[in-house]
């Protein structure tokens, strides 16, 4: 596995904000399940609980959702907020991990590995006791690194774009009223769109579905084919 040199810097933030959370709380399991499925489909911000409990496919997502809600049920506070925290909390490392699939190169060979990001964060906040925000702070350059290899750049950034697009669809379904993305240019050499998507050298936003069939087989993240987009 190739080690990525990390400087603990904020690279970007995606924040969805809710005026009211009734729909979220009424359908909290559906929302939470979608978060896990979107992550599985694109290999971004995978469930740490799922990894540590051998969740490998979409088939046992319902079981994981139920187990996490059972675990958080006995403590005080907003259940959805607690479930999301617990989903990314590692019992093994006693901290939150945003684990993602990254394609890189070892010598001339492409390699796929799980990158355990100890610096980035995904969490929710409350406002007047209501769930107010769903926030993702990216603090690594794992996705946007160029390494003079266009294929790897597209492999990683387009998956990331599709992940963010699915989150947009999910948040829209649950009545998020505001969104903001702030990004540091240095992590995205070709810039970022207003919706928070990596742009390429032609200033275009490409999604994983656009290029998947064009990728060499060793650079295809196959769960994308097998998991239906839970938001469409």
């Amino acid at each position: 596995m190739e080690q990525i040199k990390i400087k603990e810097v904020d690279y970007g933030s995606w924040g969805w904000y809710f005026d009211e959370d009734k729909k979220l709380l009424l359908n909290k399991k559906e929302f939470f399940k979608s978060i896990i499925l979107i992550s599985l489909k694109y290999g971004i911000n995978l469930s740490t609980f799922g990894i540590e409990n051998n969740l490998k496919s979409a088939e046992n997502v319902d079981e994981v959702v139920d187990r996490i809600f059972d675990i958080v049920a006995d403590s005080e506070g907003n259940p959805l907020l607690k479930a999301i925290n617990y989903n990314f909390y590692s019992m093994k490392f006693s901290t939150r991990i945003m684990a993602s699939v990254i394609y890189s190169k070892e010598g001339s060979m492409p390699v796929k590995y799980i990158y355990n990001d100890f610096f980035s964060m995904l969490f929710c906040t409350l406002k007047k006791e209501n769930l107010h925000s769903f926030f993702y702070n990216l603090r690594s350059n794992a996705f946007g690194q160029v390494d003079n290899n266009d294929m790897l750049f597209y492999t990683n950034t387009t998956r990331f774009n599709s992940y963010i697009r699915s989150l947009h669809q999910l948040m829209q379904k649950f009545d998020a009223s505001l969104f903001d993305c702030t990004f540091t240019e240095t992590n995205s050499p070709f810039g970022i769109s207003k919706k928070g998507y990596f742009l390429d050298k032609d200033d275009e936003c490409i999604f994983y579905e656009d290029i998947y069939d064009l990728l060499p087989i060793e650079l295809r993240y196959t769960p994308m084919e097998m998991i239906n987009n839970p938001m469409v």
Partner: protein, 281 residues
């Protein structure tokens, strides 16, 4: 030893004492280096500290390294249109309480992206660590700034500040994500400070045993908390966001984790608000 006419080498005793002659020559060399690089060459205190760095037997601050450090500082300054980097480097190398001059080159190198272009977020993060180090020097600390305690190893144990008199470790953050996400960006950085002290791969127990006191700093550069004046206001904001709990894993922070910091410094504008453990009660 041949003594040239007209060259004063001090008293006869000094002339006869070879070590002092070497010291004298070292001072001349230091003065020359300072003069060439437009450092405070008439400031005897500065020269004295720089001279001791140059002659440091275990970590000599060589002429070549000094040049490389200052060239990088000037490139970074040019990128941001200021003299801030060179100024702070000059102040640090002239201050005996700044201990680790041997890391300056590595730290300035980390402010460039892979293709050699200055990376402003990394630079601002690094400058924040240098400035915070200077603050702790004013509090009487001998300090190592931006120090890898195990360089080259899998767990390099990089710390933003090693407070040598207090036996403390400092973790400094520079949240700069502005707009709607600014407040959450500050919370995220606060969690990252806590995570530094609770994640073995970021800081191993070995070093936490040697330097048991924990200090945090957040230099808020994203426009949020602009009216903050009291510790209680920051504590209340964290509470209101519903992210403090009692159980690890379920809540973003636990009160115990927040109280494990001897001091959490929040910098807003020109104000420094210091939050102590009892403020979280």
């Amino acid at each position: 030893m041949k003594i040239k006419k007209g060259v004063s080498l001090g008293s006869l005793e000094e002339v006869l004492d070879g070590e002092k002659v070497v010291q004298g020559l070292g001072k001349v060399r230091t003065w020359e280096i300072a003069k060439i690089h437009d450092l405070p060459s008439t400031n005897t205190d500065f020269l004295s500290v720089l001279s001791s760095r140059i002659s440091n037997s275990s970590n000599p601050f060589t002429k070549e390294t000094i040049e490389e450090v200052l060239v990088r500082a000037e490139i970074l300054d040019e990128a941001v249109g200021s003299t801030q980097v060179k100024n702070i480097i000059t102040e640090l190398i002239g201050d005996a309480k700044f201990i680790n001059h041997e890391d300056l080159l590595t730290n300035l190198n980390s402010c460039f992206s892979g293709n050699g272009i200055p990376d402003l977020p990394k630079l601002n993060t690094q400058l924040n660590e240098f400035c915070e180090g200077q603050y702790w020097i004013t509090r009487g600390e001998d300090i190592k700034i931006s120090k890898e305690l195990n360089p080259g190893q899998q767990y390099n144990n990089e710390v933003d500040g090693l407070l040598l008199n207090s036996n403390g470790i400092l973790e400094a953050k520079y949240p700069h994500v502005a707009g709607l996400n600014a407040i959450n960006n500050v919370f995220s950085n606060l969690e990252s400070i806590i995570g530094k002290f609770t994640t073995e791969s970021r800081l191993t127990q070995f070093w936490k045993n040697i330097y048991p006191k924990r200090y945090g700093q957040i230099n808020i550069a994203n426009g949020s908390f602009s009216n903050l004046t009291e510790p209680s206001e920051f504590v209340q904001a964290v509470r209101d966001a519903g992210i403090i709990g009692s159980e690890p894993g379920l809540s973003f922070f636990t009160k115990a984790e927040l109280q494990s910091l001897e001091e959490l410094h929040i910098l807003v504008g020109d104000r420094r608000i210091i939050i102590t453990p009892q403020d979280w009660d």
